[in-house]
Amino acid sequence: MAEANKEWTNIAKSIDERRLPIYLLLDTSGSMSGAPIQAVQHGVEQFKKEVEKDTFAKETVYVGVITFGGENADFLTKGLVSIVDFQPPSLNATGSTPLGAAFKLLSQSLDKDIKENVKGGAKGDWKPLIFILTDGAPTDDWQSPREEIIKRSKKKALNIITVGCGPHINEEQLKAISTGKAFKMDDTEKASFVAFFEWVSQSVMTVSKECAQPGGEDKPIEMPKPPDVIQYIP
């Protein structure tokens, strides 16, 4: 970008920004321990590096990371953090798969952290993108909190994209959890997770670029085609 105009730097401006919220709901149950959770950790770090290099994404993307493992879910970022300030958290895998608890935290954040549009006034945040990565079936009630989120009639519609990895996923459940497309990866190898996070990064950068156009957020946005290792569940 061209050097700043040194003469006119002290011009007032509003601090309100229009953000693209990205939520990563990550399975940290016991079955993900070892190499899989390390690969996920590495993937999150790669995601940050790729996205913050993008001109549009670095200004608009805000990240929230929610893990679900053990007895409960944990909002590791405690809300939405700009991609530039986002510090990839340390991930540990243990216990069960409380996806319902993760949905409850997500719902609270959608109420508290997302800025809504004001009719005739300020434009709020763009439609959030939510990626859910899991290697098995949820072990708590996930339907009710998911319904709560979907029934947000006065709030923004959401994009919930589910990706299952490994041999123990329930494809029908993955489709039921998502609001659009559901995907699967056959294994929990490092290469699969690398491919997954590269695709998430590309998707986020594509969406942020489309949203940057006037009126862009209201048009259906075509996400990049996932790599072969990630297969669409019809």
Binding site: E7, W8, I15, G121
Partner: protein
């Protein structure tokens, strides 16, 4: 003889060549008021290697100043054609309408006046030149002209010093910078008398009707222009803000359809949004002058007070501050006025404004940015306060 005036900013595009530049700045002076305008391509359009869709224009005749800004819809590939047509045409129509009305008013007043109309009679002292004299007139140069020619040939033409070229512009393919000397001559005794007589026996001009008619003419013009461009009118979708201002009397009227903002500033009192345009419910949508029922969404307002500064801008600029607290809007208006007044010359003010629009990195704002100012000032004032 027609009044002197200027025509600056973006121009109507031809069918054969797309000449809409990525950056444009302009400046002018009308009486005690100055005009400075600039329009910069947004970062999204730069990234996509497509054209700027915003446009602005200003035109004057005598004391009348017309200014317009327009934002072409990004989803329409030819919207810059609509925007550039709309601004130039609106300025022209506004001046035509107001000057026509003024002429009608003067005609009415002169007919109702008790003075008899004096016919022009030839000056008996003036000789009709003979044919041989006429031939000689072309060849003979008066002593006065000879002296003038000599002084011109030895005089240096002093042009404003423009150093503040934005970094981006150093790689530009083309550009035009043009200046004109001031043509604001002092009024003769007869002209002063006529104005006094007019103000005492005034026939009101309907400025809102002038603005409405000008917008109607622009819409019709856009329809014909679309046909000449062999495209549908909706491919030229654009917003439009128009401002007609008399720099002597301070009378002003605004017309507005779509997003963007018109603002005024009285430095001691603060800023004021001059018009509240109609906005659709759908977030991110806007009304345009090219839609079928555009008349339902045109807002016109006569400005009742005289201000030191007027601002017209597209939403690429207004989105920076308009939805924040009111003090941000006030401060922004004062900051811009302050910085413009600091420039030692109008050309440099317009370049600095362009630089601000082109280089200002507002997070999440990737749109084209266009801003026009009309203001009272004295140039080269280094103080924060501008003199009136």
């Amino acid at each position: 003889m027609p009044e002197r005036g200027f025509n600056v900013g973006d121009r109507i595009l031809s069918k054969s060549t797309d000449t809409h530049s990525d950056w444009c700045s302009a400046f002018a002076q009308v009486g005690d008021y100055c005009f400075v305008g600039a329009s910069a391509i947004g970062r999204l359009h730069l990234h996509k290697a497509i054209s700027r869709d915003d446009a602005f224009a200003a035109r004057s005749s005598g004391a009348w100043l017309a200014v317009a800004v327009s934002d072409g819809m990004g989803s329409r590939p030819r919207s810059r054609y609509g925007a550039s047509y709309a601004v130039e045409a609106l300025c022209g129509f506004l001046l035509h309408e107001v000057l026509s009305q003024e002429q009608c008013r003067e005609n009415i007043e002169s007919v109702s006046s008790s003075e008899s109309v004096k016919q022009d009679t030839p000056n008996p002292e003036q000789k009709t030149p003979k044919k041989s004299d006429t031939e000689n007139l072309d060849k003979e140069i008066s002593g006065e002209d000879k002296a003038a020619i000599k002084s011109i040939s030895t005089a240096q033409v002093s042009l404003p010093n423009i150093n503040t070229v934005p970094h981006i512009l150093s790689d530009c393919a083309y550009g035009t910078i043009s200046w004109s000397r001031s043509f604001n001559q002092p009024l003769t005794e007869n002209e002063q008398g006529a104005i006094v007589a007019n103000s005492e026996d005034k026939v009101d001009i309907d400025y809102e009707a002038i603005m409405r008619k000008a917008f109607e003419n622009v819409h019709s013009g856009l329809f014909n222009y679309a046909q000449s461009q062999e495209c549908d009118l909706k491919e030229l979708h654009c917003t439009l803000i128009g401002f007609l201002f008399n720099t002597n009397t301070g009378e002003a009227v605004i017309g507005h359809i779509g997003d963007g903002l018109t603002l005024a500033l009285q430095p001691e009192a603060g800023s004021q949004i001059l018009i509240d345009p109609l906005i659709p419910e759908e977030i991110g949508a806007t009304y345009v002058i090219t839609q079928k029922d555009w008349k339902n969404y045109l807002t016109i307002r006569k400005v009742l007070s005289k201000y030191n500064v007027y601002y017209l801008m597209t939403d690429g600029v207004s989105d920076d501050f308009v939805y924040g607290p009111p003090e941000i809007l006030n401060q922004w208006a004062k900051d811009i006025y302050r910085e413009v007044c600091k420039s030692p010359s109008l050309p440099e003010a317009s370049q600095s404004l362009l630089k601000y629009l082109a280089n200002s990195e507002i997070k999440g704002n990737f749109d084209d940015r266009t801003l026009a100012l009309i203001f009272l000032r004295s140039m080269g004032n280094q103080d924060d306060k501008c003199n009136t």
